[in-house]
């Protein structure tokens, strides 16, 4: 029976060691890679650090989309009703990106206050409102109940 106990001992110690290692790995990875969400109001209030990868969200402001001629760069403004943030993005905007639409942009805040997008998410459905955006709109008091009450994700 001694050897059986010994087997169990090393089995358990390997398991614990590995579990500890995996946990340590996960925690350090979390530290570096959590991407926080901010609304345009948060940006205005200086809650986000310049240069850090964050996500912002809100509605694409009407009439704010401008393509820079000769380049694949598009500039637009994201609003939560109380504040707006100017975003630039190089690349192809998602199929559902349009004015008045909820959008989430992953990117970095530049020193001049503009936001450089790395990825623009306007997903899947025209009625879909990213939950973060809905929250941001609610917070700033610009949530329109009724006809516009979006977070449905209907059908998608």
């Amino acid at each position: 029976m001694r050897s059986r106990k010994r087997q169990r001992l090393w089995l358990v110690s390997i398991g614990v060691l590995l579990l500890g290692g995996a946990a340590a790995l996960a925690l350090t990875a979390f530290e570096d890679n959590l991407v926080f969400f901010h609304s345009p109001s948060d940006l205005k209030a200086g809650k986000a650090e310049v240069g850090q990868l964050i996500r912002i969200g809100g509605l694409v402001e009407d009439g704010s989309i401008a393509r820079q001629p000769g380049t694949a760069i598009t500039a637009f403004r994201v609003t939560d009703g109380a504040a707006t943030a100017t975003v630039t993005y190089e690349g192809i905007l998602p199929d559902l990106f349009r004015e008045g639409q909820g959008v989430v942009v992953r990117g970095r805040l530049l020193a001049d206050g503009a936001f450089q997008g790395v990825e623009v998410l306007a997903k899947h459905d025209e009625n879909y409102m990213p939950p973060e955006v809905a929250d941001a709109l609610k917070k700033s008091g610009h949530w329109k109940m009724g006809e516009d009450a979006p977070p449905k994700g209907a059908g998608s």
Binding site: S3, R4, Q7, W10, L11, I14, G15, L18, L19, G21, A22, L25, A26, T28, A29, F30, D32, N33, L34, V35, F36, F37, R55, R67, P69, G70, T71, A72, E90, G91, I92, L93, D95, L96, R106, K123, H124, D125, E126, Y128, P130, P131, E132, D135, P151, K152, G153, G155, S156
Partner: protein, 667 residues
């Protein structure tokens, strides 16, 4: 009328499940063979009824019966037939019916093919299976009935999300569910074994083919999903560590671990209690995935249901199934007899290492998936956990598995010599070293990690082939002897070799698609040429076209290499008027060693069009490797040892004289 028939069949199946989950269980406790036999009849009856129900739903979609609410919401009369059919499961209610169909399918298969199972184990397994079915059918009947009427019937439907109107995605759910839900049978076997209080080699032998079949389906399903994301979303990526993807990937990792640990139970009668736990966890992860995907806590293309009531119902189901089975495990597992002993360096040790690392990897993926939800619930801020987290945790945890999976098959059971195994693997070591050196010198990619990754892929593919060659004594014995050995290898050995090579291909493809890809974004006018990775992409023209149920802007790119044109690809931006939605279709030309990938964005003839062009080396290998893995699993499934009801009479014939270790079976 057919809708009512479908509804009626569903309710009848529900009642039958109620019988199946109780009577045979009682019969098994009393030792009443007649009552136990009832499990088989009801399992098959339940399956037939659900087929009928499912057929009724598909029929409603095919004939565009707009008096059925589900059809109104998810179909349209102009939709191509394939998508009318796939629309039947492209929505919350229909996908649940598919879920239940596959649950019943596995139950019926056990009933039909499990003749050699001990009657009590079979009865208990089918009872547990019926409990799951009962819960899900209750969920459907009370909160998500696919046969609800919409009267008066509208003239036409609202259409199906165009993103889902795609051949890859039409077949993605059936395969994925086959795997996802198929794991239920391993769960049912595990719970039944806990009730019986007996786990032995025969049990592992019975449970393994079902797990293997489910694993094959899951592998193909995940592959199809990722293929779809690659060509349909137009981001050039194949995997986004999206919570919904993770929800299917976690069960896959668990199922892979389970396949390997079941070998140890079967061959060495060890790791029994761990294997049972793994079977429970694997299906629990499927249930958790279903909850995450279906409850609307995650918003994605899969989140059909955002009705909180439904979420609570699934959560309750989840609690009962996971809580119940783990409680049973806690009570019964200590009573399981401890099995064979083994040294750390041994076949068992290798398989255990595989299990520990795969489970740890599954754990970190789970953590990364749930963490944002936890924070949100605690109101501690909105965060997202992106690919960098998963790359930083999953990569290091998988690396040892990739190294060990080649060495493992060389080790003998109980006690083995690592040095000896490595000497026999010299060719693979050399090949990997050369590959690493070549990448470091020539690729121009910075850092050692990509080179090590390529080394790992070469190591796996060459090492696995070396192992097979070693097994048939290629080059060490006369050719005739080798051929004879080749023919005597069990199917499971072929299966393992094939599946492991598939892993190597996937690793290579993933590296190509992430580290070695080239990308270029620009504005192009007809006639413009962009050179990416040595290939010229010339925008020939942009034209308006009309499809079955959409209109599109199509950009035609001519591809050239050294000024010689060799192909053309079409990238489209489609507009679906019924659904009022746009989709992007990437234009892809594959050489099998690389994909040339073009996407067109917004634009007009005056300012030009935004285009995004990728050169993705080795990307096709991801899906090739996935298919190869699934084929490996399927080959192994045909092994006579695994054929249901042919337990432990293995290797009766002369092949037992391998001087190497005994074949591990298909892992």
């Amino acid at each position: 009328m057919t809708a009512e028939l479908g509804h009626f069949a569903l309710v009848a199946a529900f009642v039958l499940a109620a019988v199946q989950m109780s009577v045979p269980l009682w019969g098994a406790a009393k030792g009443d063979l007649g009552l136990m036999e009832l499990a088989r009849t009801t399992a098959i009856g339940q399956f037939l009824l659900i087929i009928l129900s499912f057929a009724a739903l598909v029929n409603a979609f095919v004939v565009s019966d707009f008096s059925v609410l589900n059809v109104v919401q998810n179909s349209h009369s102009t939709k191509p037939l394939l998508y009318k059919i796939s629309g039947a499961w492209g929505n919350h209610e229909g996908s649940l019916l598919l879920w239940v169909l596959i649950l019943a399918l596995f139950g019926a298969m056990v009933a039909a093919f499990g003749r050699n199972l001990p009657p009590s184990l079979r009865a208990r397994t089918l009872s547990v299976q019926a409990m799951i079915a009962f819960g899900f059918m209750a969920f459907m009947i009370f909160t998500s009935n696919p046969f609800d009427r919409s009267l008066p019937a509208p003239a036409d439907g609202q259409g199906l999300n165009p993103l889902l109107q795609d051949p890859g995605l039409a077949f993605h759910p059936p395969f994925l569910y086959f795997g996802y839900v198929g794991l239920s049978i391993a769960f049912s076997f595990a719970v039944a074994a806990l009730i019986e209080g007996k786990v032995d080699a025969a049990w592992a032998c019975w449970v393994r083919p079902w797990t293997l079949a489910a694993w094959c389906g899951l592998t193909v399903g995940i592959g199809l999903g990722s293929w779809w994301a690659y060509y349909e979303l137009g981001w050039g990526g194949f995997w986004f560590w999206d919570p919904v993807e993770n929800a299917s990937f976690i069960p896959w990792l668990c199922a892979t671990a389970l396949l390997h640990s079941a070998i140890v139970v079967e061959k060495r009668d060890a790791l029994k209690s761990w294997t049972i736990l793994l079977a429970i966890i694997a299906f629990s992860m499927s249930l958790l995935g279903t909850f995450l995907v279906r409850s609307g806590v995650l918003t994605s293309v899969h989140a059909f249901a955002t009705d909180p009531e439904r979420g609570v119902f699934i959560l309750a189901l989840l609690g009962v199934a996971i809580g119940g089975s783990l409680t049973l495990y806690a009570i019964r597992a200590p009573a399981l007899q401890a099995g064979g002993l083994f040294q750390p360096i041994s076949r068992e040790g290798g398989l255990l290492l595989n299990n520990l690392f795969l489970s740890a990897a599954a754990g970190t993926v789970l953590l990364g998936t749930l963490y944002p939800l936890f924070l949100d619930v605690l109101d501690a801020g909105k965060v997202s956990v992106g690919p960098p987290y998963f790359n930083a945790t999953f990569g290091p945890l998988m690396a040892p598995v990739l190294v060990a999976m080649v060495i493992g098959p060389f080790l003998s059971w109980k006690r083995a010599d690592l040095g000896h195994a490595l000497i026999r693997l010299w060719m693979a070591l050399a090949a990997a070293a050369i590959a690493i050196a070549l990448v470091l010198i020539y690729s121009g990619v910075k850092g050692v990690l990509p080179a090590l990754g390529v080394g790992a892929a070469v190591w796996i593919i060459v090492g696995t082939l070396v192992e097979f060659a070693d097994r048939i004594k290629l080059g060490r014995a006369p050719l005739g002897e080798s051929v004879r050995r080749l023919r005597r290898q069990p199917r499971s050995a072929y299966g393992m070799t094939t599946a492991h090579i598939g892993v190597g291909l996937v690793v290579a493809g993933v590296l190509g698609a992430t580290v070695f890809k080239t990308e270029s974004i620009q504005v192009m006018r007809p006639g413009d040429t962009v050179v990416v990775a040595g290939y010229g992409f010339t925008l020939d023209r942009v034209e308006d076209i009309r499809g079955a149920n959409y209109v599109a802007e199509r950009a035609v790119f001519r591809l050239s290499s050294d000024g010689v044109e060799f192909a053309a690809v079409n990238a489209e931006r489609r507009n679906y008027p019924v659904e009022r939605q746009q989709t992007t279709e990437a234009g892809i030309h594959t050489t099998w060693f690389a994909d040339l990938y073009a996407v067109v964005g917004e634009g007009d003839s005056r300012n030009g069009w935004t285009t995004r062009i990728y050169h993705n080396p080795l990307v096709p290998w991801i899906w090739l490797g996935t298919i190869v893995m699934a084929i490996g699993g399927a080959i192994s499934l045909t092994d006579r040892r695994l054929r249901i009801g042919a337990p432990t009479t293995r290797r009766a014939k002369g092949a037992a004289s391998n001087d190497g270790p005994v074949p591990a079976g298909a892992d």
